[in-house]
Symmetry: C2
Subunit: 199 residues, 2 copies
């Protein structure tokens, strides 16, 4: 292509590497960032670096946080008898939005996936088991995604937790609220039927 501005192409490529961003969107974003006032662009760049510098893992639940202890683990009003195990810190945000869960979390930072070379040791399973020590935790809710890797990881962790006398549960499967039966896949529909309850 005759029109090739290297720093611009490089910026487009950076955006293209982000998940779910194709060539055209990457171009649009790069041009937008380029058209920003220099001050705003610097702020954007600084925010990326600042996030990398300031954010670490909570020493208890392993979620992303600025301090030693994340705001949830540090919150005295949360129920310390229940831990919800999730794949990533992002999932915590989803649960918190429900405003209905008041227990603690544990972030695995991934799922067991032999295909991608991720074994149990790369996750924070050791740290999860360590939290069972003093008998405060009565229940662990496995809230990994309903995928092959999510299920396998939940099963693996459940097998380790059960001998420790902890109740292990998992999220219910079923039709999403507001969803359309017509569009539900067979597996979801089967799981919804299997998990039916009396009304």
């Amino acid at each position: 292509m005759a029109y090739n501005v290297v720093p611009l192409t490089r910026l487009i490529e950076q955006f293209e590497r982000l998940p779910g961003i194709g060539r055209k969107t990457a171009q649009r974003l790069a041009f937008y960032v380029l058209a920003m006032p220099k001050e705003k662009a610097r702020q954007f760049a600084d925010t990326i670096l600042e996030a990398h510098e300031k954010i670490k893992r909570c020493k208890v639940c392993q979620s992303l946080t600025e301090s030693e202890l994340c705001p949830i683990c540090g919150d005295e009003s949360r129920d310390r008898g229940i831990i919800c195990v999730v794949e990533s810190s992002q999932d915590i945000m989803a649960f918190e939005r429900t405003r209905e869960y008041h227990g603690l979390y544990h972030v695995l930072h991934g799922l067991i996936s032999p295909m991608d070379g991720v074994g149990p040791d790369q996750l924070t399973i050791k740290e999860l088991l360590a939290r069972m020590g003093d008998g405060t935790v009565k229940e662990v809710v496995m809230a990994t995604n309903p995928t092959v890797e999510g299920e396998a990881t939940a099963m693996y962790i459940a097998r380790l937790l059960k001998p420790m006398g902890v109740k292990v549960t998992r999220l219910a499967y079923g039709i999403p609220i507001g969803g359309n039966l017509e569009y539900a896949d067979e597996v979801t529909l089967y799981r919804a039927l299997e998990g039916r309850s009396e009304i």
Copy 2:
């Protein structure tokens, strides 16, 4: 929300400001950038700053470039008798992808839009008129978007160019190739009918 990690929230907000990026996508992108190795994140931030520092406007066509003259204006093999006038440098990329246009460009860096407080003086119209000086340019193709602002800008510029003895044309309107008649809006369809040609 109990789970509020300030540098992360700030990063999410930065992504959310980009065009076409909603809250959920911004979250996904922010978490992705955070999970990058520190080295890669620094590279991303640097690319943003580098683009801002190195990219300027071509002194002839006003498109974005690293040097005094953009690669197209500097290319001796391009037809200097025709100039395609576009809204932004992004549009040049689209034309170059066709591999069928071998003339020059002129980038307006916007469209006349009284609603947004953009008048003719904020665009590079003065620079376009200056290019007509020596009589090399025989034709100017107005290739602004087919919107109210695009049309108005094209008309405004055409009125200035015509007295200078330059042929002014505009892109054809019609049905997009591969498009479906059923989905074409009335105006497009009417324009396609109006512009019909014998086969």
